[in-house]
């Protein structure tokens, strides 16, 4: 954290010194995240990723041939929607604001992004994945991640085709929109492919005890081939641990909520087996951008990225920077247009192009396997070509 501050200060200093030589400006990107409260384990890593990327860009000389420096202002909205609405207005009152980024959860994006839309400032959500977001909010709303439909389809296809699962039970965190949407799309695709759903079960965010669901899972006769667990990182490791401890050995499949070390550390290497999930293409990926990102993150924070939300935060800044370069301007409207025109931006979490009518980027989806606590990239799934 300290280094980041220094870099930011150095950037600001460079701005001040350079002002005499040529017109150099520092533009502000507001980063709205729940840094305290219930959502903080998802959002805090995303802000870390964002701050890191801005610092790296400034360190490398800024944007538009060194005339533009980035300043990312993180705003804590305390897992509280009133704070979110206030923070959005605070962000919009900032000088030199060019864009907003933020949030790993749709419901908070929906409390903040409409204000940006109204003010004509682009808002890039780093982690929210509801495929209707840009439709609901408007033309200033951009997504860094893929849509829940894509990631659910990817893992459903993999479960059906490669794992050969035919009868699957579905567990859903009933308290979150993200997890409910993920399950809905999974069910849809899995049945469409010819699979059978043999049980639906639910839990709530914050639950730690899945014994009742496990007992019900064990009571399904004949036993399913696998279980789809739609959870966020907080419950991912817990559910795997308890399912495996109960002696259930068939595959556990999920989406990017499982993209966390907790899936390995909570059950421990003996139990963290046969877990398959779809996620952003960065984990266990050997592309250069990925290894650079992971190395920089470890150097900065002294630990590997906590979960998929940190590279997504990193990429959200990347998208804004790319748009500034493409627009050749720091005008928010120009940046918005440039964002909409982004094609094949190589982000840490995969190629991003806004080609769909829904403005959900058709990103490749990584299928990751966990065996003995180790994460391996199995294959990369590409969404159906549209348009």
């Amino acid at each position: 954290m300290r280094t980041l501050k220094t870099i930011a200060a150095a950037g600001a200093l460079a701005t001040g010194l350079g002002a005499a030589a040529e017109a150099q400006e520092t533009v502000t990107i507001a980063a709205l995240y729940n840094l305290t409260g219930g959502m903080s384990s998802i959002d805090a890593p995303a802000l870390n990723g964002a701050l890191l990327h801005a610092a790296l860009i400034n360190e490398a000389g800024g944007l538009l041939d060194g005339t533009v420096m980035l300043e990312v202002v993180g705003i804590d909205t305390k897992t509280d929607q009133q704070e979110t609405a206030t923070a959005a207005q605070q962000a919009l009152s900032m000088d030199n604001l060019v864009a907003g980024i933020g949030y790993g959860d749709t419901t908070f994006v929906l409390a903040a992004a409409p204000a940006f839309q109204e003010a004509g400032i682009p808002f890039v959500t780093s982690g929210a994945t509801h495929p209707m977001l840009p439709t609901w909010v408007g033309d200033h709303m951009f997504m860094t991640a893929f849509g829940d439909d894509d990631q659910s389809y990817a893992i459903a296809d993999y479960a059906y085709d490669t794992l050969g699962l035919r009868r699957v039970a579905v567990w859903t965190d009933d308290s979150m929109d993200f997890t409910r949407a993920l399950s809905t799309f999974f069910r849809e695709r899995f049945v469409e492919r010819g699979g059978e759903l043999v049980g639906d079960d639910f839990f709530m965010m914050g639950d730690t005890d899945f014994s009742a669901q496990i007992a019900r899972l064990q009571a399904i006769d004949p036993a399913p081939d696998g279980v789809f667990v739609s959870a966020i990182p907080g419950e991912a490791g817990l559910s795997v641990k308890q399912i495996r401890e109960a002696g259930i050995t068939y595959p556990i499949v999920s989406g990017d909520g499982f993209d966390t070390e907790l899936v390995s550390t909570v059950p421990g290497p003996d139990l963290a087996n046969d877990v398959f999930f779809s996620s952003h293409t960065y984990r266990a990926d050997d592309r250069q951008v990925v290894s650079d990102f992971v190395a920089a993150y470890e150097e900065e924070y002294g630990r590997p990225p906590e979960n998929a939300f940190s590279p997504l935060g990193y990429d959200a800044i990347g998208l804004v920077a790319e748009a500034i370069e493409a627009a050749g301007s720091t005008e928010p409207s120009a940046i918005r247009d440039a964002l909409a025109g982004i094609r094949d931006y190589e982000a840490v979490t995969g190629m991003i192009s806004y080609t769909r009518e829904t403005m959900v980027p058709p990103k490749p989806v990584a299928i990751i396997e966990v065996q003995g606590g180790e994460f391996t990239l199995l294959e990369t799934w590409f969404p159906d070509e549209v348009e």
């Binding site: 840094l35 305290t36 409260g37 219930g38 903080s40 384990s41 805090a44 890593p45 009933d174 308290s175 049980g199 639906d200 079960d201 639910f202 839990f203 709530m204 914050g206 730690t208 005890d209 014994s211 009742a212 669901q213 007992a215 019900r216 064990q218 009571a219 990182p233 907080g234 490791g237 817990l238 641990k241 308890q242 401890e245 109960a246 002696g247 070390e261 907790l262 390995s264 550390t265 909570v266 059950p267 421990g268 003996d270 139990l271 906590e306 979960n307």
Partner: protein, 297 residues
């Protein structure tokens, strides 16, 4: 179906053991100073992180871990009592309630600053998760240890409260603080003892939590704390046996609601739990084992 039911009941008892340990502290402290200490759940969190530090980082064996958690929990309880609640004695009750909320927010946010909000996996020795062989249902060694340790601690507490001079002083103080002082009882010391014992038990509950679920984070104490408070109220706030009973009932109710309701209604679990709670209170307005309410908050 019977083994299914049995499994649910066992699971409820394990969860209930942890609720009960936290609830006891609520009731002990309430019984003596008429204070609902909302920071109590956060002491469980501190217990869990103490376990992590002592066991994983320092690599010490389990008995040392348990001892360390007891000591740190008690010390936290004393510190909170000294800094936040002692200056408030004699003030309206609701002030204590608010102060304890403030302390809870303080602890959580300091913990987030120091430890980050990210949950951590805690790897306890693998033998703890060994399944007990030869049973029709699934029970791990750690589950047995949790229940046994919880019951042992509760028996120990009951012995302290019923058989020792300190326990007698605590009961007398809880019943009538002024007359207790007239007997020469040092009420301050009695209150400190209640905070220390209650907090040590909450710390152990946090340790158990991390041993069973293997994952801890700085705000993990809030929800179990809230539920343990509910458990203490069901039992009759102020009554130690009531808190134990309430803890087990709540643990069972939670697991059984999820286990016996059709999955479609699982989302209504909290509604059912709280609905039942309200019903229980309507029939027994002072909880299962509470005395007539003497105070208003």
């Amino acid at each position: 179906m019977t083994s299914y039911l049995l499994q649910q009941i066992v699971n409820g008892l394990i969860l209930g053991s942890m609720y009960a340990l936290v609830a006891i502290g609520f009731s002990m402290i309430y019984g003596i100073v008429r204070l609902i200490n909302f920071a109590h759940g956060d002491i469980a969190m501190i217990g869990a992180f103490t376990a992590l530090a002592v066991m994983i980082v320092a690599g010490l064996p389990l008995p040392v871990v348990i001892l360390a958690v007891l000591v740190v929990g008690a010390a936290m309880g004393l510190a909170i009592e000294f800094v936040a609640f002692r200056p408030l004695r004699g003030a309206p009750q609701v002030n204590g309630f608010i102060t304890s909320l403030a302390v809870s927010i303080l602890i959580q946010n300091v913990a987030i600053l120091l430890l980050t909000a990210e949950p951590r996996g805690v790897a306890f020795p693998a033998f703890l998760s060994e399944r007990i062989p030869g049973l029709p249902i699934n029970i791990d060694l750690v589950d047995i240890l949790i229940v046994v340790l919880a019951v042992a601690l509760m028996l120990g507490l009951v012995t302290i409260v019923n058989r020792t001079r300190l326990g007698m002083a605590m009961r007398a103080t809880a019943e009538n603080l002024d007359v207790a002082r007239l007997m020469g009882i040092n009420v301050s010391r009695t209150i400190m003892a209640a905070f220390a014992i209650g907090s040590a038990l909450a710390g152990i509950a946090g340790l158990m939590w991390s041993a069973r679920y293997g994952q801890i984070d700085p705000i993990m104490g809030f929800l179990p704390g809230l539920k343990a408070f509910v458990a203490a109220v069901i039992g009759g706030v102020g009554s130690i046996p009531g808190a134990m009973l309430g803890g087990y009932l709540l643990g069972l109710a939670e697991v059984l609601f999820v286990g016996l309701l059709p999955p479609e209604y699982a989302g209504y679990r909290d509604a059912f739990v709280f609905g039942t709670l309200i019903l229980v209170l309507l029939v027994l307005p002072n909880g299962l084992m509470g005395r007539a309410a003497e105070d208003r908050a």
